[in-house]
C-alpha cells in the first residue's frame, strides 16, 4: 500500500514507455486484400507488429483466443460478415482497446457514426504513412487516462479524487473497469472525447487540404 506500489507502478510505466511506439501489436481487419497488403507493409515500416484478418469472425477469434494481447485494432467499416461499427461495439464490451475505423468514404455522416460507436479515429483510404505513424498516440492516451484513474482511486490523499470514488477504492482491482465507467471521471472522459474529436477532425482536415 502507498509508496511501494507507487514506485512499482512508475517503474512499470517507464518500461512501457521505453518500448513505445515500436512493437505496437496491431490487428488490421479488411476484406480488401490490396489494402490489407499495403497496410501490413506500412505497419511493418513503422516497426509495429501487424496481424492481418480478412473478416470479422477471424478477427474476433484472434482477439479472444490469442495469447498475445493486441494494443490496437484497425478495421474497415464495411465487411461481408459484420460491419466495423459492430466489431467496435463487441471489442468495447469484451476488451478495452482502441479501435480505428478505416473506410473508402469520408462522408460526415459515416465519420460521425464511427465516432458515436466509440472509434478513437477514422482513416480514409488510401492510408498514408503518417496516418499509421501516429496511431500509437491512441494507445498511449488510453494508458495514461487509465493510469490517472487508478492512481486517483488508490491514493486516498489525492485531492483530485472524486468523493464518491473513495468508497469504491476498497473493491478488488478486477472490477476496476466497471468502476471507471460508473465513476465517470470527468477529467478522463473529457480528455478521451477531445482526443476523439481531434482525431477525426485532424484527419478530415488533412484529407480536405490534400
Amino acid at each position: 500500500m502507498g509508496m511501494m506500489e507507487e514506485n512499482q507502478r512508475e517503474r512499470m510505466e517507464d518500461a512501457t514507455v521505453d518500448q513505445f511506439p515500436e512493437g505496437l501489436r496491431v490487428l488490421a481487419v479488411d476484406d480488401d486484400c490490396v489494402c490489407l497488403k499495403v497496410l501490413e507493409a506500412l505497419l511493418r515500416r513503422c516497426i509495429y507488429h501487424p496481424t492481418m484478418a480478412m473478416d470479422a469472425k477471424t478477427a474476433l477469434k484472434m482477439l479472444r483466443t490469442m495469447k498475445v494481447k493486441f494494443d490496437l485494432v484497425i478495421t474497415d467499416v464495411r465487411m461481408p460478415d459484420m460491419d466495423g461499427f459492430k466489431i467496435r461495439e463487441l471489442i468495447g464490451l469484451e476488451m478495452d482497446m482502441p479501435v480505428i475505423m478505416l473506410s473508402v468514404d469520408c462522408y460526415k455522416k459515416v465519420v460521425l457514426n464511427g465516432i458515436n460507436h466509440g472509434a478513437c479515429d477514422y482513416l480514409v483510404k488510401p492510408v498514408y504513412t503518417n496516418d499509421i505513424k501516429n496511431i500509437w498516440q491512441h494507445v498511449e492516451s488510453r494508458r495514461r487516462s487509465q493510469a490517472i484513474s487508478h492512481m486517483s482511486r488508490d491514493n486516498a490523499n489525492d485531492e483530485r479524487v472524486h468523493p464518491g470514488s473513495l468508497a469504491m477504492s476498497k473493491d478488488s482491482k478486477n472490477k476496476r473497469n466497471d468502476e471507471y465507467d460508473s465513476n465517470k471521471n470527468t477529467e478522463s472522459t473529457h480528455s478521451s472525447t477531445t482526443q476523439k474529436i481531434q482525431g477525426w477532425h485532424g484527419q478530415l482536415s488533412f484529407k480536405t487540404s490534400f
Binding site: 486484400c33 499495403v38 511493418r44 473508402v104 468514404d105 492510408v127
Partner: protein, 151 residues
C-alpha cells in the same frame, strides 16, 4: 543486351502512366514500401490488385445483368473496387468508380453502364502497361537491379 536502355524504357513507360493520370502519388508510396526485406513488393501488390479487381469487375458485370436497377448492390461492389484502386494509386480507375457511384446515387442506369464500360477499358490499359513495365524491369538487368524501382 543494353540494360540501361531497357531501364530507360521502363522509366519512360512509368512516367507516361503518371503524366496521363493512370497512376497517382499513392503508387509512389507503394514503391517506397519496397525494400530489401520485400524486394518484389510493388509487383506483388500489382498482381494482387489485378486478380482482385478482375474478380470484382466480373461480379459486377453479372450483377448489372442479374439485378437490374439494384443500385445498392451495384454501389457495394464499386465501393470495394474503389478501395483497391485508391490503395494502389490507380487514379483513372478510381475516378470511374466514383462516377459510377454518383450515377447509382442518381439512380441513373445509363450513367452507370457508361462508367462501367470506361472502367473496364482503363483496367485493361493499366494492366497491359504495368505488365510491360515489369517485364522491362526483369529484362533490364541481373536480379538485384531488376527489383530496384526505376525513377
Amino acid at each position: 543486351m543494353d540494360y540501361s536502355n531497357l531501364r530507360r524504357q521502363a522509366a519512360s513507360l512509368k512516367k507516361g502512366l503518371f503524366d496521363q493520370g493512370h497512376l497517382d502519388e499513392q503508387f509512389r508510396q507503394v514503391e517506397d514500401l519496397q525494400d530489401e526485406a520485400s524486394p518484389n513488393f510493388v509487383e506483388e501488390v500489382v498482381v494482387v490488385f489485378f486478380k482482385d479487381s478482375g474478380r470484382l469487375i466480373t461480379n459486377l458485370e453479372q450483377a448489372l445483368e442479374k439485378y437490374p436497377r439494384d443500385f445498392n448492390r451495384w454501389d457495394a461492389y464499386m465501393q470495394q473496387l474503389k478501395g483497391s484502386c485508391s490503395s494502389i494509386g490507380a487514379s483513372r480507375m478510381k475516378n470511374e468508380c466514383m462516377s459510377f457511384r454518383d450515377s447509382c446515387g442518381q439512380r441513373n442506369v445509363e450513367g452507370c453502364m457508361g462508367s462501367f464500360q470506361k472502367l473496364k477499358r482503363e483496367h485493361a490499359v493499366l494492366r497491359q502497361k504495368l505488365e510491360s513495365y515489369f517485364q522491362l524491369l526483369r529484362q533490364a538487368g541481373p536480379a538485384g537491379a531488376a527489383t530496384r524501382p526505376v525513377m
